[in-house]
């Protein structure tokens, strides 16, 4: 193991030299996580809206379930889907284990509770008169939903960024469901785990930098949008 300065220098060189293997890993990460979040967002936001704006038997229980799921570790989600997708499991015939699809499924399960719980909080923060005003002004239910969503947009954006941040950085589910196969299911967190275990710190740090830059970009974007919607004096 070299000194930390040279390792960091090597990491930055790897990142900006266009190392094919490194960028393939980054590509897999973004492809899987973006697919997962895009699939999760529409139903999760719809459920969050229903939980905030409607009353049905089991509503409180549903909210509690989603809040509880927030605390479930990624590795437990990975284990659950592993059991479901393994040859002997109920979904074994789908032959999805150690594929990107399996990783997407795991990441959907991870991001969904965050989107629902934070989306629910965002919708709850919007005055109920927004929905009623839109409806009384002749908006269809879908347009009124869009109008309320626009009012809750900063909270919803925060939910999306938080969900994306969680799944792109999780290692447990991706490792168990993807199998860490190079050029196919090896993503940033699983690669960091692997390279670190081999003593190859440069690539691990380079990939870690990508995650840090991503977190920074997501947070700055959120700040930018929220700054525009700040409360006026």
């Amino acid at each position: 193991m070299g000194d930390s300065t040279s390792i960091t220098r090597d990491a930055i060189y790897l990142l900006f030299s266009g190392d094919a293997e490194l960028w393939a890993i980054i590509g897999v990460s973004f492809q899987v996580s973006t697919t997962a979040i895009l699939i999760s967002i529409p139903p999760a936001i719809a459920i969050a809206f229903l939980l905030a704006y409607t009353d049905f038997p089991g509503r409180r229980l549903t909210i509690s379930v989603f809040n509880t799921l927030l605390a479930v570790p990624a590795v437990v989600i990975g284990l659950t889907f592993y059991l479901l997708l393994s040859r002997q499991g109920p979904l074994g015939d789908w032959r999805l284990l150690f594929t990107q699809s399996a990783m997407v499924m795991g990441q959907i399960a991870l991001s969904f509770p965050i989107l629902v719980a934070m989306g629910h909080a965002a919708f709850q923060a919007v005055d109920k008169r927004a929905w009623e005003t839109a409806r009384t002004l002749g908006a269809s239910p879908s347009f009124a939903f869009y109008t309320v969503m626009r009012e809750a947009r900063f909270g919803l954006l925060a939910a999306m960024f938080a969900g994306y941040g969680r799944i792109i950085a999780e290692v447990g589910a991706s490792m168990m469901l993807g199998g860490n196969i190079l050029h196919y299911t090896r993503n940033i967190p699983t690669a960091i785990a692997l390279e670190t275990s081999k003593g190859e710190f440069s690539q691990g740090i380079a990939l870690g930098l990508v995650l840090i830059i991503l977190a920074l970009v997501l947070n700055m974007s959120l700040q930018y949008f929220q700054g525009k919607g700040q409360v006026s004096s």
Partner: protein
Amino acid sequence: MHSTHIIFSGIEKRFGRKPILINSTLEIKSGECILLCGNNGAGKTTLLRILAGLDVPDAGYVSTGLGKHPWKQCRQQLRNTTVYLHQEPYMFDGDVISNLNIALQKPYSRKKRNGRVLSAIKWAGLEDVAHNAARTLSGGERQRVAIARAWLREPDILLLDEPVTNMDQRSRSSTIRLLHNLKQQGMALMITSHDPLHFEALADTSLRISDGSIRRYLSKDNVTPIHSRIRRNEQLK
């Protein structure tokens, strides 16, 4: 706006064990203004929200030219023909123009949409605040934006919940002038208020809601000398 004559009958509503509306009956016609008075918690807002199709009554019928139907069957029709204005109208995030645009649900061309919005701004005297964030407006200006949205929507019936509460004299006069204008255009108005004196000149019928029932208590032909004097003073201002 169409010619309207709707009769609501047998309206019942309870909150828990407390009856709010008991077998209430109400008739609304085009170009008519009904003033609904009553104490806090008497059921004025509840009644308005039921008429707007926002809240569900425990029982009730709606009679239109097409016969008498249970309220639930007419809910969509009520939503299509009424606009309900909250006591504190909700302003969407954005400027006054974007708030007015929300009332234009029909697929207008951009040119026609802009033209309609500009007309509404002029009609409601909102020229000076058209580009201001709607949430920064005063109570009176917000109420005028809300009434302008209703004007764009052109409902048969406009339901207003305490529209001039906490307003100064000038804002109150502007608001009442707009309501006069809507009435002259043939819109039916139903207004709830703690203080009926403000609407004496506007209201054709005054009703009082108490203990769950609605009673006629004052009409234009039956004003007391003090009401008459206050009305004259308001008009002079």
